[in-house]
């Protein structure tokens, strides 16, 4: 079966700047695929090349086996949910959702029915006659979604769609997006700089840095086995260990990254002695920064908030251990895509 989206040798330069550097990527039908990276890492440019808003400097874009590199956005079987929604301010919610059908020449009755259905799918029935400026951010987001899915695209492109929403709403929309993707059964390509979002939603994640994919895998692979220090610190938080420190902790003598929740304090087997330098209370857990004796290094540990009568405090002496397999060996050079 053909890939939903196949990128080959995709390269995009803006003047002197290389935005996307020789990218190969295959996104499968029905997959929830995230492109995760800091701003300027090229992820949005890739999305815009898939949608057709940018022409690649070289390379090709194929959708479901058909090369679309030279096609205009309106000739491609994908639709986009824009970061700022880009709703038409002069049209009602219903007219916004009907827009694509109207342009395609669908009869009034059918497009009305399909638009109603799409609005139902995003739980916005009853808002047909409102104007975009009368809606909240979350509702605009839903209109943008309805407007895109009403055309039954083979793939939906989402450009940081939740970026403008507040935390509670964002968490709620994450759940709804995932459900929507499952019920539609189409490919979602989701661009985000929020690693939580990418890990929560995706079947697979591509981590972008400086115009390249530095790691591609399931959320678990990317989180548990970051390939290099960039990924280890960008996706979740990690303590990066020098070879000497890793060796002192009983690991291989190599650069390693270890997640705070995989660091054990005062374990049964003892470990490297140290002093707590900082206690950060986050509510559900304590984040503890420990100075390791004689190594000139610090390591961060995470402990659940158990409501102990005397929580750990600065200056407490502890032993630190890291299980073999809990730390990820890092490539010293950034991994090639």
């Amino acid at each position: 079966m053909d890939s939903a989206i196949r990128l080959r040798g995709l390269h995009k330069r803006f003047g002197e700047t290389v935005a996307v550097d020789d990218l190969d990527l295959d996104i499968e039908p029905g997959e929830f695929f995230s492109m995760l990276g800091p701003s300027g890492s090229g992820k949005t440019t890739v999305l815009r090349m898939i949608a057709g808003f940018e022409r690649p400097t070289s390379g090709s874009v194929a959708l479901f086996g058909a090369d679309v590199t030279a096609l205009a956005p309106f000739q491609r079987p994908v639709n986009t949910v824009f970061q700022d929604y880009a709703l038409f301010p002069h049209l009602s919610v219903l007219a916004n959702v009907e827009y694509g059908l109207r342009v395609a020449g669908v009869a009034r009755k059918e497009r009305r029915a399909r638009a109603e259905e799409a609005l139902g799918q995003v739980r916005l029935a009853g808002y047909e006659e409102r104007r975009p400026h009368e809606l909240s951010g979350g509702q605009r987001q839903r209109v943008a979604l309805a407007r895109a899915i009403v055309l039954r695209p083979q793939a939906l492109l989402l450009d940081e769609p939740l970026g403008a929403l507040d935390l509670k709403l964002r968490e709620q929309m994450q759940v709804e997006l995932k459900e929507l993707q499952r019920s539609l059964g189409i490919t979602f390509v989701f661009v985000t700089h929020d690693q939580d979002e990418a890990l929560t939603l995706s079947d697979r994640v591509a981590v972008f840095d400086a115009g390249r994919v530095v790691q591609l895998g399931t959320p678990r692979e990317v989180y548990d086995h970051p390939r290099n220090s960039f990924i280890a610190s960008f996706v979740g938080s990690s303590t990066l260990l020098d070879p000497d420190v890793a060796a002192a902790l009983g690991l291989d003598r190599a650069p390693m990254a270890v997640r705070p929740e995989r660091v054990t304090l005062d374990g049964p087997a003892g470990g490297v002695p140290g002093t707590i330098a900082e206690v950060i209370y986050t509510g559900p857990e304590h984040r503890l920064v420990v100075d390791l004796d004689g190594l000139g290094a610090r390591i961060t540990a995470l402990e659940p908030n158990t409501g102990a009568a005397r929580p750990r405090a600065r200056g407490d002496r502890v032993t630190v251990s890291v299980e073999r397999g809990a730390a990820a060996p890092l490539e010293t050079e950034p991994a090639p895509a």
Partner: protein
């Protein structure tokens, strides 16, 4: 910022004088249009509506009014089409010489009217080889009317960016459909404002008009100039001047309100 009491009084007085300098003469024109004196003597010996009646039956004045309206509408229409196209090209596409083209489009509004007038007069008669007439006048007015339309449309297009047009294309609409359904509705009020400004500019223009109107083509400002110093016509000229002022100010006021309202709508 707090001003001292003296400063406030002085600034207030200066403002009052300046405003009086601008508006009192206008008031005098209006008074002259209803003054019983034929020679605009001061103070008016009494009031009459005779001049208004005469003006409304003056064939020369009415014809001039008709010419002015025709020229202003035609020049504005040309400006609307060309100004919109130019604004689309310069705001949406990258091409060689773009900055130069931008400057060349805007320049006519800054050029002294006398220069534009002489240049067009020469060009029409010698290079193009046409008789000066109402069409040469319309084209001449269009050269500076384009600027107001272009500026309004260009500002609106730049402020809104390409996101709505991208959304439209993403939903399957081609370039023309996108313009018709998205860009144009968005531009409409800017175009109306630009068009009204263009109308007002054309309506009271006299310098370029003098050089590019053919013999027998008389616009309202030209008619006023020609009749101003004819003793029997003086009060009628005052009437026409009042009409001209109203017809110029009203579109300007509407244009300004449209622009302000839209700026508010865009920032919402």
């Amino acid at each position: 910022m707090q001003l001292g009491r003296v400063a406030r009084y002085v600034l207030g007085a200066v403002t009052a004088v300046v405003i009086a300098m601008i508006y009192l003469p206008l008031g005098v024109v209006f008074l002259n249009s209803i003054s019983a004196s034929e020679s605009m003597s001061w103070p008016p010996p009494g009031f009459t509506l005779e001049w208004w009646g005469r003006a409304l039956h003056s064939e020369g004045a009415l014809q001039a009014l008709g010419t002015s309206v025709l020229v202003a509408i035609a020049a504005s229409a040309i400006a609307l089409v060309l100004g919109t196209l130019a604004a689309m090209a310069l705001s949406r596409y990258r091409f060689y010489g773009k900055e130069t083209v931008n400057l060349l489009i805007v320049l006519p509004i800054a050029l002294p009217g006398i220069v534009t007038g002489i240049a067009l007069n020469n060009a029409f008669r010698t290079i193009v080889g046409v008789q000066l007439g109402v069409w040469t006048l319309i084209v001449a007015h269009a050269t500076f009317c384009i600027v107001t339309v272009y500026n309004n449309a260009f500002a609106r297009l730049n402020a809104s960016g390409t996101r709505l047009e991208e959304a439209s294309q993403d939903l399957g609409a081609g370039l023309f459909t996108t313009f018709r359904l998205v860009t144009f509705p968005h531009l409409k009020s800017a175009l109306l404002a630009g068009g009204l400004l263009a109308f007002a500019l054309s309506f009271d223009e006299i310098i370029v008009t003098t050089f590019t109107a053919g013999p027998g083509v008389t616009t309202l400002p030209l008619w006023i100039l020609q009749n101003m110093f004819r003793p029997s016509q003086a009060p009628v000229v005052a009437v026409i001047a009042v009409i001209l002022a109203v017809l110029s100010v009203v579109p300007l006021a509407i244009a300004q309100r449209l622009t302000a309202k839209d700026a508010a709508a865009v920032s919402r």
